[in-house]
């Protein structure tokens, strides 16, 4: 996935270098048209589908507008799901690339240009969503660090990790530091037979999978089994049509969130 992604980067980079050369051009007017030409090339590139990224091992062509849409969907899903969802590194990196590119464009545009404020406004909106998304993930990682890492170690090699490389490093470091802190501030001062951290922390925090969520179906889904989790066996099987809205427990529908058939709202 990483290698395929780097080909995307290289397809964007030539435009960026072109851009930086326009930075050095002297007359503002020239810079201006150059800037626009570059943007033009950029957007037409996208409509030709120059932007590929790999998801679920399929090649996917995506326009920047769809990219933002995807970010918004991932943001809302992450916001409402109790557990940490699969990381969306390709989407995040493509968005960052787009932001950087636009920031370069803004920098090379003439000062006081009518368009700057508008582009900045758009950037602020995208950045807000991106930061909020990443922050929600970090919060969940901190909250459930040990159970997430445990699950990550246990997973089969053919299942993708929920953590991105950076998040994995962060989670490991975070857990290490918390453990070191607990040990040095409390455990060391206890009798030696009570010094085992794993015993002291008997229950690892885990996400509450029975949280109720609102959801929207993106596709019609047949035969979702909702069990009552009680002994009276009041299980129900329901069919959902496309674009239906529901409220129910997260657990029965969690696999559909990952596949994109259900959007949390």
């Amino acid at each position: 996935m990483e290698s395929q992604y780097s080909s995307v980067l290289s397809s964007i980079r030539p435009i960026n270098t072109d851009e930086s050369s326009s930075l050095s051009s002297n007359t503002n007017e020239e810079e201006y048209t150059h800037h626009q030409a570059a943007t033009g090339v950029f957007s037409s590139n996208h409509s030709n589908g120059a932007e590929h990224f790999d998801e679920d091992d399929e090649e996917e062509e995506i326009t920047p507008a769809e990219l933002i849409e995807k970010l918004q969907q991932s943001w809302l899903n992450e916001k409402f799901s109790p557990e940490l969802l699969e990381h969306k590194t390709p989407v995040v990196e493509c968005i960052i690339e787009q932001i950087k590119h636009m920031e370069n464009n803004i920098r090379s545009a003439k000062k006081g240009d009518f368009r700057i404020a508008i582009h900045k406004l758009e950037l602020d909106r995208i950045k807000y969503m991106l930061y909020s998304y990443l922050r929600i993930r970090i919060k969940k990682i901190e909250q459930f660090a040990s159970s997430i890492l445990e699950e990550d170690v246990r997973r089969h090699s053919n299942i993708r990790s929920k953590l991105s490389a950076e998040e994995f490093a962060y989670a490991s470091e975070y857990l290490k530091n918390v453990r070191a802190h607990l040990t040095s501030s409390v455990l060391e001062h206890l009798p030696s037979n009570l010094q085992d951290l794993n015993e002291a922390v008997a229950t690892v925090p885990r996400p509450d999978m029975d949280k109720f969520v609102f959801l929207k179906t993106m596709d019609s889904i047949k035969g979702i089994l909702i069990d009552d989790m009680t002994n009276d066996g009041r299980n129900e099987i329901i069919d959902m049509d496309k674009d239906d809205l529901y409220i129910m427990r997260y657990n029965p529908i969690k696999s559909y969130v990952n596949s994109g058939e259900i959007q949390l709202i």
Partner: protein
Amino acid sequence: MDNDEVEFIAENELITVVPNFQYKTFYLIGGDIGPFEPSVPTQVPLWLAVHFRQRQKCRIECPSWINVEKLEEIMNNEKSSDLFTQMPNPHYMEITNILLNCAPQDIPRADEVKTLIKDIWDLRIAKLRSSMNEFIKSESLHAKVNNLTLLEINTVRNLLTKTLKELHNLKQHVPIADE
């Protein structure tokens, strides 16, 4: 979720503006906007329409549903229906609010529109409260909430999801208590 974030999402809705300036197409990341010709209506996202309107660069063309007759009809439908009726826009409340705040002059009979939207909102929230009550009493495992808008969902989200969760917890522990 914060209500501000619901509004943030609503600001992506497209709206027609009549610009008073001329400009080439903008190449935004989210898609191309424009070109702008004076007095030629064009579609832009709501956040951009607000930006232009605040700088007196355009007039906002009201969406066709922001209209006293149309809203009265919607209100009557809502009154006569037991279920939630479909709103003309999934962000009707947010859009009207934003427009009433930034461009009341562009909305014909703005005061009446404001009251009507508020009435429709109150009507739907009252309906929502009573249906929530019924839903909880019925002890269902799920409920279909079609035609509710995001803002409406958001107003009852905390209360409803937490209540249901608590009930779920209680139910799970009942058999153990019996044994």
